[in-house]
């Protein structure tokens, strides 16, 4: 009687769980929105970036946290929904942005260090427009020229370049500058950055400096004016505004500037800065610099069509596989198979509920994990049922056989599933991104399957046999012939036991 009560409690629990799962999947939100889809199924851009420092120091976790925060702000400013930014390991960050396909632009915005620096220009060279394919050669010859300049000192100064389109459209103007190794002012002086237009309607980006930054900027401009005077070129000193390793502008400073506004502009073109560049500058300046440099490890952009195709084919494969397993179990185990099928269906539904509840992002490898876990879930029943059949062949009554089957089968299932769990944990610990999705689903699936395939089927079987339903050997898929064959085997087994 207690057995029967236990079985009822277990089945009651299953009903409650199914209810909760049904609520989570169907009621809480429209069912189409219940499952969170990964980028490979929904379409979007995913990038994996690795932080590094130019001086070779180790990147710390704190710096990666700051970097992830900055990246989040930048992604948000792209105006996309539900981006996902995760730090992985010590120095990697994974950025997932659903719904966009322009990976190059997104990565440009996300991965740009945006280290702003203001320098006094010590020497300049170049300034002639050159065709596109000669830019690199020009830079090399300017580099040689400037290294010969008396102001250049290895370790104390460095050479930076500015590229800007020639006003008459005849190519690109390349200029080289010798500047001190360290900037006088950095991005910390910046308060905000905003796109605007000058009087001629040219697009530019205005940077507002903090009050401290404004003072520092004033001092720097004063210093440039003084030095120019001392060098005998009054009014000829220049200031370089540098973003990362590129000079964005190098205006001539003929008087000290206090007030704290600096403008990045492109007077060479009638529209000013190209729109995309202006937007990008605004975003990266406004959100501030990343504390480390970012190397792009991998980028993928999945189109929505490909994503939908993958989802459809994955679901089709999962459903067909699932259906065939159900049929197979009934063919082999008859009534027992029906019970296993019921447990499998409960399993699949509860798994869906768990995926929605946790929530686990569904990815392509995740679907593979689910499909595999269907096999594992069915297998637990195969192990137990084979044992039951074996006991029946040895002449045990079906009822006793069921008891022994569960008891003896259980250790084998636990050991076997532990093995699967071990590999899943290793996958999770060592792999990244999409592979983790597979590992998580495998773990969740294996644990859940132990519940449904062992506990639930046992309760179901216990309940129907308690109801006076008589399970005969043929109902379990044990043929008469094998029943007779099994008898001698029983004697052998008994012999072994006696020897023990």
């Amino acid at each position: 009687m207690t057995n029967r009560r236990n079985n009822l409690i277990i089945l009651g629990l299953v009903v409650v769980l199914i209810g909760v799962a049904a609520y989570l999947i169907f009621v809480r939100q429209p069912v189409a929105e219940a499952t969170r889809l990964g980028l490979d199924l929904e379409g979007g851009v995913s990038a994996n970036l690795q932080g590094y420092k130019t001086n070779g120091e180790e990147v710390t976790r704190d710096e990666m946290d700051v970097a992830a925060g900055v990246i989040r702000q930048r992604v948000d400013s792209l105006g996309v929904t539900e981006p996902e930014i995760q730090i992985q390991g010590d120095d990697q960050v994974v950025v997932n942005i659903p719904g966009i396909t322009d990976a190059d632009r997104a990565v440009e915005v996300i991965g740009r260090t945006a280290q702003l620096g203001f320098y006094e220009v010590l020497a300049t060279a170049g300034g002639q427009p050159v065709p596109e394919d000669e830019i690199e050669d020009t830079k090399e010859s300017l580099q040689d020229e400037l290294e010969g300049d008396p102001t250049f000192e290895e370790g104390e100064t460095r050479i930076l370049f500015e590229e800007s389109p020639a006003p008459d459209g005849s190519g690109t103007i390349v200029q080289g500058y010798v500047v001190p190794d360290e900037p006088e002012l950095t991005g910390e002086a910046l308060d905000s950055a905003v796109q605007s237009q000058d009087q001629a309607g040219r697009r530019e980006v205005q940077m507002e400096l903090t009050s401290e930054g404004g003072e520092g900027f004033g001092d720097l401009s004063q210093q440039i004016v003084d030095n120019a005077l001392a060098n005998g070129t009054p009014g000829g000193g220049r200031l370089a505004v540098v973003l990362d390793e590129d000079v964005v502008s190098a205006p001539v400073v003929d008087e000290p500037i206090y007030g704290g506004q600096v403008v990045i502009q492109n007077q060479g073109s009638p529209g000013g800065l190209p729109q995309e560049e202006a937007e990008e500058l605004e975003v990266v300046l406004q959100t501030g610099a990343l504390p480390v440099n970012m190397e792009i490890l991998s980028v993928s952009s999945i189109g929505p069509t490909l994503g939908a195709d993958s989802l459809r084919s994955g679901l089709l494969a999962a459903l067909v596989g699932f259906g065939l397993v159900l049929v197979f179990l009934v063919i082999i185990y008859r009534v027992l198979g029906l019970i296993a099928d019921l447990a499998l269906i409960i399993y699949a539904f509860l798994l869906w509920g768990l995926i929605v509840a946790i929530p686990i992002t569904m990815t392509l490898p995740g679907i593979a994990g689910i499909v595999l876990s269907i096999g594992v879930a069915a297998d637990a029943n195969v192990v137990i049922f084979e044992r039951i059949k074996e006991e029946v062949r040895r002449g045990k009554t079906p009822r006793t056989a069921v008891g022994i089957g569960y008891q003896k089968g259980f250790t084998a299932i636990v050991d076997g599933n532990l093995a699967t769990l071990i590999t899943a944990f290793i996958l999770f610990a060592l792999a990244s991104g999409s592979v983790r999705g597979f590992a998580v689903l495998l773990v969740v699936g294996v644990i859940l399957s132990m519940f449904t395939a062992v506990v639930v089927t046992r309760a179901l079987l216990g309940l129907i046999s308690g109801r006076g339903f008589h399970l005969s050997a043929p109902m379990m898929g044990v043929s008469k012939k094998s029943l007779e064959e099994g008898r001698p085997a029983r004697a052998g087994k008994a012999g072994t036991e006696a020897r023990r």
Binding site: G314, L324, V325, F328, P365, L372
Partner: protein, 306 residues
Amino acid sequence: MVALKNIDFVGRWRIWFAVSGVFLLICVGAIALGGFNPGIDFTGGSAFTASGVQGSPSTAEVRDALPGDLGDRSIVQSVGEDGYEVRTPVLSEEGYTDAEVRQALEEELGAEVSVTSISPTFGGQIRTQALQAVAAALAIIVLFISVRFEFSFAMAAMVALIHDIFITMGFYALVGREVNLVTVVAVLTVLGYSLYDTIIIFDRIRENAPEAGYNRQRYEELANNSIRQVVMRSIYTSVCTLIPVVALLIFGESTLSDFAFALLVGIGAGTYSSIFIAAPVLCLYKAWRAGRVGSGKGRAAQSASS
């Protein structure tokens, strides 16, 4: 069924090992002859996937659509009914960007093109991680079986697992399928699966084995009986797992079908090795160890147990 009952699984180990040996020889040969086709996950590079291609262009036409001489150094494959996959070397080293190549392909094919690009640094990292994962899995499995069973079982399971890894990788080399991160995941999954199969058999041997005393003939008979008792289960389980795997192979698109292919081979090899490799190795190892301990001791244990 009757035939299965009469097979001497342990005694005829020479036959089973020879069958595996032939397969292994072919597989190792294929691997040694450079049959591996590493994907961009390991080497770095870009993969472009076009779906819904208009007016079925030929691979040569797709190749021509690529800028410069990139077409000659890229792998172009048709995928499914109206898809194409193009794998290029690392584009930044060639002086191109992903966007350029993607636009070129989109114009030629009139279809949506998805891109995945992986830097060579990351490819190296993934390679290291993959090898670490497999090594860690094997080490922890030995430990796990040693604890749950005994060391000799762990040894036997290990031989079976390494057998499965070589067969799976060898088949990849043979058919020239792309080896990528998904393959590694599949191999690890196969490890877990094959181990499960082996454990079910070992569990039965453990259950049937007498508490004390070792006698080669009796132990081998016992192992044979244990396998006979669970062999149908092994086959049914494999079928249960292979059904959805075959469904993935048939219906899944490239990633899923790659995964399914590795599983199909691996689970096949795993089922064979659990029955025909793991148990015989266990028996041979036990016999070898008993012989090494010294016949005197062995006889003493034998007489004590009877």
